[in-house]
Symmetry: D2
Subunit: 346 residues, 4 copies
């Protein structure tokens, strides 16, 4: 008996996360994209916008249609914030499962979402049922979820950096400092002067240092995992490069560094996409370029202190790759099917 190939829809397929979804789905043996929508580019061929996606050269972007989408087994929302919260309820109602790559369904505490995004949520009930799509935390509930809120890029790198410690209740101070750095693809495919090569290459700076919306997302999750309030200070910075996020976390714990390393290696031993490097080794973003892996290093400069360096590809483990991982779990497939396991390096 043959497995039925699953039908997949992508809403907003023209941004970088949409392109990455297509790159991965092109080699997936168990699914096919049968609905690809873009409000702005409807009527154009994928090949005209993304000449390197040869598998989809002749596929046309369509205007979003509720009927076409609800006929899919699963739909990705690769749209800006506050799109999926309007559209997902009808799809879920129609039996279609949904993964939102934006922030609408990522918060366990909706009041935090409303404060962070300065809006009223359009689907508060559904938001409560939604599962945060971090397989390393929520693998089983993701598998059964109707709706998954795919984690943000900085939150993925940050939460995986602290997960074993927080789960084990080993933070000796609830204050956490996260210094994040991201490649420019994190800002999306936007024609902004501050992103052009003449301004953003050979350059580096912080942004959002008074508060960035990924801070509350990280705090919400860590608090949820810890079972107590965790305060997060998060400062992001823009790197003069395309892909990659590194987060350096500064936390307090009384556990000695070698024991912490054992704890992490044990916790992640069976995780297919998280690696913990040896003492003295520093993870590099190029080790995960194009791949769905998170690689973590652990350090300490004085007793009581833990420093964690965590790297991911912001478009893969930080977005589209993790979404495919979630899709595989939801469809009962091998979690790593079509998920890039190796980096492109050099």
């Amino acid at each position: 008996m043959e497995t039925q190939v699953k039908q997949i829809g992508i809403v907003g397929g023209t941004g970088y996360t949409g392109v990455e979804l297509l790159r991965m789905l092109a080699v997936h043996p168990e699914v096919e994209v049968n609905c690809l929508t873009s409000r702005s580019e409807a009527g154009k061929l994928v090949g005209a916008l993304y000449p390197w996606l040869h598998a989809y050269s002749d596929v046309m972007f369509e205007a979003p249609s509720a009927d076409a989408l609800s006929a899919c087994d699963l739909v990705f929302y690769a749209t800006p914030n506050q799109i999926a919260m309007h559209d997902a309820p009808a799809l879920v109602e129609a039996g279609c499962r949904v993964i939102d790559l934006a922030a609408d369904f990522r918060f366990s505490d909706l009041s935090v979402w409303e404060h962070t995004y300065q809006a009223t949520h359009a689907a508060p009930e559904l938001a409560k049922e939604a599962v945060y799509g971090l397989p390393e935390c929520y693998r089983e509930t993701i598998a059964n979820a109707s709706l998954v809120g795919n984690p943000g890029c900085y939150p993925t790198a940050s939460i995986l950096a602290l997960l074993p410690l927080v789960e084990a209740g080993l933070l000796s101070d609830t204050q956490v400092i996260l210094d994040g750095k991201s490649g420019a693809s994190g800002a999306g495919r936007n024609a902004r002067t501050d992103l052009i090569v003449a301004e953003a290459s050979d350059n580096f700076h912080a942004y959002g240092a008074d508060g960035h919306r990924h801070g509350p997302e990280i705090a919400d999750q860590l608090t949820h995992i810890a079972g107590q309030s965790i305060e997060v200070t998060f400062v992001p910075h823009l790197l003069p490069m395309i892909r990659g996020i590194e987060v350096t976390a500064y936390v307090s714990t009384s556990m000695p560094i070698e024991e912490v390393r054992d704890l992490y290696q044990t916790r992640y031993a069976s995780e297919p996409l998280v690696s913990v490097v040896d003492s003295g080794v520093h993870p590099e973003t190029r080790w995960v370029r194009g791949s769905n892996r998170c690689t973590i290093g652990l350090y300490s400069q004085r007793p009581g202190q833990l420093i964690v360096s965590s790297v991911i590809d912001n478009l893969v483990k930080g977005a589209a790759g993790q979404a495919i991982q979630n899709m595989n779990l939801m469809l009962g497939l091998d979690e790593t099917l079509a998920v890039p396991m190796h980096a492109l390096s050099p």
Copy 2:
């Protein structure tokens, strides 16, 4: 009566700090380079190694000679660590003034130097007399110094980031976290595989996260300025670009952010080469590319917390430019003579 043009020597002129010294001295009206030495490149023309330094095309690198150097009014050591500590005493004895761009004369507490560099200091008495070459702190003593230890690149950005607060005794916790990022020129003109474009461009990673030798230098100075022990956690990272350092500092203070900003603006108002940006603005390394300026931004995400972002050009304010500034002070000249005031941007 004419001012006599001063005679300048440069030892180790073939590294990046040596090249930058030449770039600036080429337009200095009151000094001339009359002794340029390099052990490895003796006999070669500057023009052969650095075709863009047209003012020195036909100058030849000489082997270092104590006689030639001691005839200079002032000598720069643009050499690796632990060279100047052997040579400087004789020069100082001979009445020649010395600026060491390496770390030999930067520590107020020599035991910290010895622990950090794992060596015995060759000139401990002279080291005690040496002045730390940060004009914003020690302008008057620099002017009269025989020997100046020019600050490290990360320490310059870090100390200027915290100076007003530390001077005023406003740190409410003596623990300071400094997350530093540097362009690849900070690693010098070294043929290392990990620095080639194929490995280090489009890449980012921490290094020395278990302890980097600039940490103790920063702690030594902050402790000296504060009059109490300051504990520094410092993690450097390598940026995929040529020039520029950004340090994000996380400290505790009960002073509200707006008062902190006033404090900084007042403290630096008369400094020709330090700027404090307005609320909400984030300094960019390109704003100081090629210039001798330090630009500082101040932020806070919760009461009791201060976040500082500080940028410099690691080869200018972090090395050669600050050295010229010190030279001007020592020779009684206008402090900013021949010092680059404007960045090259884009």
Copy 3:
């Protein structure tokens, strides 16, 4: 008797060529900028847009005013094409001298301009009187000109690459092939998706390969200099970097390569801003980064063939630096006053 400081106006000071003009004029001892205009940014401070131009922090961009401009000794048009041709006649009439950094006054043959820019020229009489601002060719006429058309970036690199050969009538074939490459600042400060780091860094491609408007400008000048029609094939390419143009020229000549090198070295011996490198050396764009120099290398792979590699900084010798050089000539000042002579490298 003191020289009177000259009054300078800049129209369109917010683009990259405008910023570069300000950077250089800030250190010019004989002129001052007394009128800085921008239609789009009128009312803003220079410091808000260009925080690194400390000398002009508190200067405000004004709306362009014919009165204010015509009171200047000399006005730079750092505007898009087809602005100066409307405004310059009145200024010239009023006795103000004008340097246009756009293409309106660069063509000796106006029909070529009209065909290339697909427009009717608004000041054809003035265009005939205008001098092409390449000092290496037209130093004396520039000095006396009312109106100078400042050469394009690719044309500057290309014409200097071939000038000695063309002047001497040594081309054995009137077909010239020019393969040009430019850093992204050549596209200006424009918010274009194809220029953002995520798309244009770590990337390279040709553009305008069926014909780019700098081709006719080069052909027009070479034809004028040669006194016979020269056919130019010019293909530009976009480099994943900020500044720098390299042009590789492929031409035919029966003169042996060593004699050609002698010819070039003799021709450029007294030029302050053109260098010819030795056999086997290849000029690098970083050797001229931020400087007003053109550096040229000469090669051959077979008898009868000459290959020339020519590098400039597109914003300096290819735009603002050459304009300052022209201004100095027009005002009777030392040609290299305030002109950057040394590159910023590394």
Copy 4:
């Protein structure tokens, strides 16, 4: 009946082409790497050198052993020039098939090889039997070859740029000009000062302009294909980026550009890894980043002239990817098995 999994050896697996072979072979269902050698790194784990190749983390580099290698079905030489010519004869004798990624077996005319590489060939008889591994030209002979000389990176981009025209005898002049540009990974994993980020990023220059050894390789092949002598002028340039080659070719033909485009599209219609873009489109290196594709654009600025822009990833279609393509042909497998079909972009 099951297909037997083929045994593969890699000699010199620690360079960039070796790493890329491993990346691709990791997902190949019909082969396994059972012998991985490196003289310099013998005894080290792949995971220590290349932490991103998780499939091979625990594989150890061995010293090369003729016995172990000759037990393989096929061996890749990812070594410097003039290694394979000494070792391959014994392997071929033992019935093992060999693909050399260096230049030893690429020349149809050995005297050209000897002149170009200034050496005497160690296996001249075998060199005559070797097949040039360009599947688009020699698919059938590759399938039956004992020994394949895998083409150089610039030659692959250059020959594919001209193949349809040369095969059809449509060059109206036997002089061909090729202006090539390559990312820095083309220089290999070498600790060279001129390749470090501080020198080679934000920089561009020609090299080998008096003659580069890929020129004769291209001329040898084009001459062989054309059946008449083709003279090649080839000037390579170094790009400030990691991967990608672009070659702009300038040739003469009397065929109109639209007919040339038809010719190319017809010639490459059934090629799985060569694309010809539409009029006015310029191929970008990022469209082939990490993929095995060659993308070609065609232009003309005047009658009788053809300009071709051709892009490849130098490490994939220019090296390891093409080698895998050849391996598949030699082993009777689907030519594109495990060959990357889609680029990683952005």
